[in-house]
Subunit: 404 residues, 2 copies
């Protein structure tokens, strides 16, 4: 899949912008973003399964019932969650954006991210929207990506180019997410755009299928946020015949979607709060897909393993331990474990028991930034990947005093 | 319940000892412990539900099938888990202890704790057992408690005195557990002794019932160990008529058991790896017990809340977030949250939304060592407690390089 620049504006007919409107104290930090399609688009989203849901989640769910959307408005610095007037504020945000864009507020996806339980004042948003709309451009993806960041330290933006019906198509996205990341249906905030023509039903199917193996396999700290959302808008401007069934063209679209979502998963994992390393657990030889996924996710979530990876300590017993309490039915006596990075691969466990290995070699492998934990279950043909990061002093520091 | 001294030797007819035999490099640290009853005792144990089980767990399970035991042998410094010859070594440990005590090896409870996946050499244990047996005394509980500690910084030891059938009875215990603590049926290692006369069946029932609300409600880091075990031996030397049904005397025994297990839970939580605070989440107003327990445990397990407590930051949104992803069916709009310590109580959330509170007052309350997180669900009459600790720099430090 060919990577291109432009992020959410790589697809034809999408513009974006991000500004500082005053929700955050730091004037150098964008806190309000917008993405707009020239025409109404097929739209789908998946949301957090946390019972406590941010008000914007509830409003967006309502707006997307007809499978159509044309714009995204998103603020950072305040999650608009657990506030008595949350729904009202989220609806005001939608309406103010819609009025300025001369579209229906039903076609607006609204999102918020930041601290929970502090009232979100509408005034800076209301004052900022005209400026935000005036800044919309097809090179605005970067500013929009900046506007949705909280404790993120790196911009997460990607786009790919592919062909359907002989037409050049694009799919791009921006994402944020650094802490409170343990998505259950979706991750923190991911906005995807594409110019592919696809029906709302098939778009929903593509997204719902994809996230099972991508954002749902990502964990920074085991805490499922109240405001998770992945949305996708497909405006059809690539000019292909509408994808309305599971044919070869749908497969190409799924492939494009997956290449973008996996890229964003890895970017979010590597930029986890306080992280110094990106961890990827690759499970092979499982009896079924559910087992492979359960094992991979359990390994990536272990606080003990995450701390060991921070210390570049090849403490593989913690991998076995995490597999054991995962709930997956596996034969412990067939498990092999190895660690891999750009410096090589080192097997540490064979058939469920430790084997001799060079601690020095293991240390050199584990001192790298991207670490793979290879788990072979020796049972069947299914495999899965999960992404996470190490547990560091800085994670504690960031979250010991997040609100000030 | 009257607290007395003596730990596992408070009950009549129990002796204990702990020595350094050479499994650990540090010669000042005990690494081998023994507890012995003068006569065979009713015995019961609960074990980790981790699919990967330490070899000693498998051997002990076998030995306790007849509901009888007379001695405990336990080493620290090596978990004897994920080793090809693990079972063999655990059986050797039992046999060596039994031979020296002139009892059947079937009556030995064997346990190991420490690093996973490194072969446990029998030699220092074999050489140490005669010395260990020679040191057995009714004042040996303290040395035995020292011998089972790993990253623990404080001794966990307690005993109570109570009356059944006009006889003075005792129940005491020692425990260890600091990291990899998220018990599922049991906690790291807890050894209980009592001189009450009780049938193996009723002892098993008492223990299995009690741990649901005690050790299963404890979490340091979400990692369920491979070697968790809580065992209890009841030698009947108090002279009461054998408890063999759920009568008033069983209720008194349950109360004594609960007072000892709750004490040990709080001690383990407060001494969690790197912990500066003991956290207790008290959930009231639940529709049923399962809901109360699920909510309490989810709150105590949240990495984000644990880090906030380390920073004495009243970030109550993380309490709501953890309740929301717990899986419990609750009405979010009825949830009240408050923080409490010896400095007072401060309500921070009413009916699912934030309320005004003094950050200074909250800070003073949260700077204390023992913090209670009060959650009222407003639905029914059930309540539960769960115990944990804050997430600190030192947790990361301890686990970043545990093996060296």
């Amino acid at each position: 899949m060919k990577t291109v620049s432009g992020g959410v504006c790589a697809a034809k007919g999408f513009k974006a912008a991000g500004i500082h409107c005053g929700i955050r104290k730091n004037k150098d930090k964008n806190d309000l973003s917008m993405i707009v399609s020239d025409c109404p688009a097929s739209a789908a989203a998946v949301y957090t399964q946390n019972l406590v849901k941010g008000a914007p989640i509830l409003v967006t769910k309502q707006h997307l019932q007809n499978g159509k959307a044309q714009a995204v408005i998103c603020n950072s610095g305040n999650a608009n969650t657990c506030n008595a007037n949350g729904i009202e504020i989220a609806e005001q945000m939608s309406r103010l954006a819609a009025d300025e864009l001369h579209i229906s507020s039903e076609n607006v996806i609204v999102a918020s991210t930041g601290v929970i339980g502090q009232p979100l004042v509408i005034d800076p948003i209301a004052a900022g929207i005209p400026l935000l709309v005036s800044r919309l451009s097809d090179s605005g993806s970067h500013e929009a990506a900046l506007g949705i960041m909280t404790t993120d330290t790196e911009i997460k933006e990607v786009a790919v180019e592919f062909e359907i019906d002989g037409r050049i198509c694009h799919l791009g996205g921006i994402a944020k997410g650094s802490g409170m990341i343990h998505p259950n249906m979706a991750t923190m905030l991911v906005f995807l755009t594409t110019d592919v023509a696809i029906s709302p039903e098939m778009l929903k199917k593509a997204l719902s299928t994809d996230i099972q193996g991508t954002f749902n396999m990502l964990s920074i700290d085991g805490d499922t946020s109240t405001n998770d959302m992945v949305s996708v808008m497909a405006n059809g401007l690539a000019g292909n015949a509408v994808i309305d069934r599971e044919d070869d063209r749908f497969a190409v679209f799924m492939q494009a979607l997956n290449s973008v979502t996996v890229y964003l998963c890895r970017a979010i994992a590597g930029d986890g709060e306080g992280a110094t390393k990106m961890l990827e657990c690759i499970v092979t030889g499982a009896d079924d897909l559910a087992t492979a996924r359960t094992v991979a996710k359990s390994v990536i979530c272990s606080s003990l393993l995450k701390a060991a990876m921070f210390g570049a300590d090849a403490n593989w017993g913690r991998v076995l331990c995490a597999i054991g309490y995962s709930g997956a039915k596996v034969d412990v006596n067939r498990i092999d474990v190895a660690f891999r990075s750009c410096k090589g691969t080192i097997p540490v466990c064979k058939d469920g028991s430790g084997i001799d290995f060079s601690e020095e070699e293991a240390k050199e492998i584990l001192l790298q930034k991207d670490i793979e934990i290879l788990v072979s279950l020796g049972d069947g043909d299914f495999s899965a990947k999960a992404w996470g990061c190490d547990l560091t002093y800085d994670y504690v520091k960031i979250n010991g005093d997040y609100r000030t």
